[in-house]
Each structure stands twice: as C-alpha cells, then as structure tokens.
Symmetry: C2
Subunit: 417 residues, 2 copies
Amino acid sequence: MRQSQLLTKAVKEAPAEEESISARLLIRGGFIDKLAAGLFNFLPLGWRVHQKIEQIIREEMNGLGGEELYLVALHPRGYWEKTKRWQIPEIFKVRSQSGREFALSWTHEEIITPVAQKFIFSYKDLPKYLYQFQVKMRDELRVKAGLLRTKEFIMKDLYSFHSNEKDLDDYYEKVKKSYFRIFERVGLKKSTHLTYASGGTFSPFSHEFQAVTPAGEDTIFVCPKCRLAINREIKDKISKCPNCKGKNFRQERSIEVGNIFKLGTKYSEAFEFSFQNKKGEFRPVIMGCYGIGLGRLMGAIAEICCDEKGIIWPEEIAPFRVHLLSFAAKDKKKQTKVQKTAEDVYGNLIQNGVEVLFDDREDKTAGEKMMEADLLGIPWRVIVSEKTIEKGNVEIKRRESKGAELVRPDKLLGSVR
Amino acid sequence: MRQSQLLTKAVKEAPAEEESISARLLIRGGFIDKLAAGLFNFLPLGWRVHQKIEQIIREEMNGLGGEELYLVALHPRGYWEKTKRWQIPEIFKVRSQSGREFALSWTHEEIITPVAQKFIFSYKDLPKYLYQFQVKMRDELRVKAGLLRTKEFIMKDLYSFHSNEKDLDDYYEKVKKSYFRIFERVGLKKSTHLTYASGGTFSPFSHEFQAVTPAGEDTIFVCPKCRLAINREIKDKISKCPNCKGKNFRQERSIEVGNIFKLGTKYSEAFEFSFQNKKGEFRPVIMGCYGIGLGRLMGAIAEICCDEKGIIWPEEIAPFRVHLLSFAAKDKKKQTKVQKTAEDVYGNLIQNGVEVLFDDREDKTAGEKMMEADLLGIPWRVIVSEKTIEKGNVEIKRRESKGAELVRPDKLLGSVR
C-alpha cells in the first residue's frame, strides 16, 4: 500500500491521560483511536495487526478440532437468571422499547451452553469444541493503559464439552500447548508464563498466561528454574513450585493475556444440560473454557516489543513485512532514477506476495520518514535514495538492528523473505 | 470436515412462529439458531457461509480502494447529540455504573466522521474510503422472517470522503458496479434490481439493491425493459423509468439487500469537519455511505436459492464445495471397499484444496443422508455405495439437477472443480 493514500499519519502527541507506553505508541502511530475512556477504534494499520492475531489464533483453534461459530451480543435476561449472574455489576444492561431486558455480552457461557444442549444428547456426540471471535462489553470502572483494560474488545472464546473428567483433562493440556504456540507466534514466547490462578468449585486452580512487563496490573511469582508462575491471589496457598518443587520465586508485574478454566458442570447443571452415557444413564456434561482478549494481547505486544523510538512488531503480526522509503534527491535526473527504482522495488515485492507499505510521500523529509518508520515498527526497512542508487543498491535494515546494509535490488526479495 | 464430528444435525422442525422459507430452512439445516425473537446465533455451517459472503465483500471493497478498520459498538451519548439523533427510538441506550450513557451501534456515521476528521485537513488528503464489518444493534419492534429483519447483525459499511460533488458522483457509480459484482458473486444477479429510493436534503434519490421474492417486505416497481426499479415510497414522484423512459412497471415484493446514499455535508457540518481547498478556503467534506447487511443478504439468498427440499447454495458462498456421502453395504467385504473408496476420495479432494463435508456417519440410512444433503444444499453431491463401486465408480450430482452420473474416482477432481 502507498502511504500517500493511507488514512492515518503519525501524530506527535498521544492524549496526556494515556500514560502506558503501548497506548502512547499505538495512538501516535495511528494504529488505534481513542473515542472515550476504555473505548478504542482500530484504524487501518492497527486493524491489520488485529486481523493477523485473529488468523493465528483461528489456525490454532482449528488445529485443536475447534468449530468456529458466532453468538449474538444481546442476551435476553432469562439466560443470565438461570446462572444467577444477572446481578453482576459489570454487566451492561439494556431495556428495549417493548420493555424486554438484555445483558450485553459480558461473556458467552450463558449462550453457548443452551446452544450445545440442542445438539448434544449422547456420549457419542462428545467431545465437542466450539469457538468464536466476538465482542465482549464490560462496564469497567477502572479502565486503564489503552488496550490493556477496555470496556469493549474482541475475545476468542473456546468452549469444550466432555463426557468425563479425564477427557477434559487431556484436552486442557492440548489447549495449554496450543496457547504456548500462539504466544510464540505473536512474539511473546520469552515473556509469557503459565501461571497458576484461583480455580472454582470444580478445580482447585485455573491457569493464566501472564506476560511480564512493568505495565502489567497483575503480580506473579515466577519460578526461575522452570518458568512456571503463581498468581499473587493464591500465593499463600502454594509454597513450592507445582512443577519443579523449587522454593524461590521472582516477583514480577504482568499482563494476563490468556486464561483457561475447567468449568466442570457449573453451567451444564444450571441449564440441566445432560447426556446419556454408555449405560444409558443421564450425566451432566463437563465443560472447559479458554479465552484470549485480542485487543489486550495486541496492547501487551506493543508494550513489550518496543524501544524508545517506537514499536517493533513481531514478524507474523506486523501490519506489513517491508516498509519501503524513497527519499527525494535534489538533482532532477537523480530524482527520476530514485523514483523509478523505488517503484520497481515496490512492484517486484508486491508481485511476489510480500506486503509492503511504500512511503512515496513527497512532502516528507528523509528524517521524518525514518522517524515514522521506527514508530510504526515494520520488520524490514528498505531505503531508496540518491546515495543508495549511486552504486545501484538499496539500503536494508531490520527494525531492531542498528546497522544497515546495501544490497542489489534483485537480491532484495531473498533478503526480506 | 467429517459430518460425524460436526456439532449440528439437521432437525425436522423449525419453530412454529418462523414462517419464512429461509428461516425454516436455515434453522432446520443447522445453519442458524434462534436465541430469541430477532436474535440468531450462527452455527458452524452458517458461519462458514457468512464468512464467505464477508470475504467476497472485502475483496470488492479493497478493489474500490477501501481501507478496512473497526469502530466500537458502544458510542458515548455526546456523539449522537451532535447530529440530534440520540432520540431515535430504535437506538438501544445503556447507562454505565458511573452514570455515563451510551448508544449501541445503530449505525456508525457518528463515529467515522470524527475519526476521519482527525486525519483529513486538506484537499490533498482526499478522497478517502473507509469500511468495516461490525455489529449493528437495533431496537426493532417488527422483527420478522428470520435473518431478514433482526435486532443484531453484522453490516459492511463503507464511507467515502470527497472534496467535491463530481468526485462523489464518480465514486458512487463505481460502488454501484461493485455492488452488482457482489450480488452476482453471491448468486443474486438475476433477482437484484437497482432501485430508486428516497434521498435526503443533499440528493433527491438514494439507491437500493432490491432482491425480488414474495417474502420481501418492500414493494418495488420494476421496468421490464431495463431492469431498473422504483421503490413504492417514491412511486408517485416518478412516472417514467429514469433510465430508459419506459412507462410500464411490474410490481414485485422484494428484500433490500444493499443501500447507497449520498450524505453530502450532513455529518461533516454536524461535526464541523472541513478541509482546505486549493485556494486555502475551508469547505465541509462531502460524504457518501454504502451498506450491506450480511445476515439479511444470507437470508435473502436462502429465500431465493432453494427448492422444496432445501437450500441450493451458490458456489462461491456454499459452506463446502462437495458433500461426500458413503452408504453402508450389507456385505462386510463390500462395506470395507465402500469405506476405503470414500476415504480415498475424501483424502484426495482435501489434498487438492477442495472443501468437502464427508457424511461418514454410520447411524444414518442412505435415505436420511440424501435428504439431509438436499436440505444443506452443497453444490456437488458425491455418493460412494455398494452400487457405485461395482464398476469402480462414484456417483456425482449437482444439487439443482435431477440426473446423476457415474464417474471414475480419478476423474472426480476435474468434475467438481
């Protein structure tokens, strides 16, 4: 895409009240737009990142046998009465003209359970794995740090349905591995710790995936030997690392980027959702749920993958793979050659399926273009200028590295792939 | 995908109160699930169709130079006060714990206008084309006919921003052509008519795309010569066909599947959104908006593309391309051969990138499988049975045709592509 046609331009200042690094960088780079406290629009560059995160998660969910569906966001009050959760203060409630009451999608257990109930009757129908990407709306009193805690965000929620605990346990372990792959693919492998957190009536613990950063609002205790962590909320219940039995922990601030939870029969009992086992007996279906908030994950990545100049997007989720900059030359003939070389490079990369943002703007200086490239954080920066074309080269540089090198345009494709 | 693993099964009866053909077929086929009046969940098969419709529209919007973004669904009251539309009764209103009021996304002009205003200052920044797929929620008193009028649905809304009327007019014509391509690709080419409808203060008319079907709640007058139509709401203002000047019209019932509208300066004036022209003068930005409701479009397709046995999905939006059925054989040896042939066919099609739903269920009769295949409406039905393998063939049939033919399994790929 040509940057001259892009809606957004980098802006000098983020709103003063946005203090987190990620919010400031994402707003300044034109990735997101703050509509109100806790409400952010995703602008074209930011939406590309969000869509790439979504696609990675989709691939992993399909790999887990997940079937994608889409549940509505307006939930008649009755569904929330069944589980006695209507009164939760963070649920937005709305009343229609005709007097009907609805909850906005605070979560979707109350909807997925009766949906599954319509199609699952026997042990032969189990297990089943259903997931969606859908908006969640929460009446948060303490929104903060840009995308890290908002009133509205898209969540991937996966729900699993089982005939016995062993089957849930096995699937739960598979999801753990899948989550690690997701966090690796989005660039948070080193930062993310599987973390023991409080469970429910069915299971003593649930598990969170916590990404370490000073901007996090959670506190975890990381076992330095095996990387497992324990959420502060249950620290007094656990003295040794549940994995390696180590007793020393390092305290860290962190962001919860994923959560997996054995629901057991909590929701199936509320909805009287049972199946017939092999003996013909009726038993409540056993459930698990597995969430990832996409906006928060994107915020965590921006928070962790950056330097003082801007974001450094991990390859798989960068809005583009290559940021091509052409600098104006003083000499008219040279200018023509710079432009032609840049156009050729752009056309060649595009033709070969490489996603390129081409800074073809004529009203920006070389310095402005380079500053903006650092802010936007696209993995490969390619410069075409009077200087580089002198010996028939272009300059190529990774966003995170200090040194640049000169390569022949015909070698460029091999370098950035 | 193996049908034995699919969440849904076809059901005999749709809810009695759902009278429209499309709602009954979509519910019976397990494409959608009725949560409450006007609220439908999309189940895995239905969500596949919805996603394919979305992708077709996305491709066309990108072809129009559109930049995709994503605007929130919770809108602070102030934005709707600016345009004096807060009082619209069909807008769902919600109040937060802290007393703030929000409109749920009835539409997004009130949000896109101030977003565009942050980045558009000069004629050099124009034109711009921004679009999204996002949920709309409307407090409809007269929900009806399944997906055709609901309280919640995903809409594609494109907004264009121009420096002069000529530029808007030119783009508007391009969008018309793009919309025709969309309706052609989703299988509604023959049914859809460009229809004159009421305009606003800026333009005497807007244009709808109306798909003819007895289930429609609109009435249009179609010019049989040139296919143009006129909405009943403006029939008394127009005596001749605006295109070919014909005076005879055929009255039809129809569903509005798309709408394009010249907004002019209505919203830019409400938000004081202006740009500087070449002379340095400030002028209000000129806008257009272009919508398609995806759920309604899917409902219209099901309503129009069907017969008494079920849906006949057009190729590009069918949930799968091939429905492979294997029938049980009485003889054990033959049964083994049927199963092996079916598995080979399945593996081969999948490997070659063909989307296949494989009815591998062992507890369904041949008759049940064929009835369900007709209901689900996948374009190609392939049967492997004792009879077909006798001479080493499989049976192949288009959903809409009566006759089937036998082909060698190694010729199958060529036939269904």
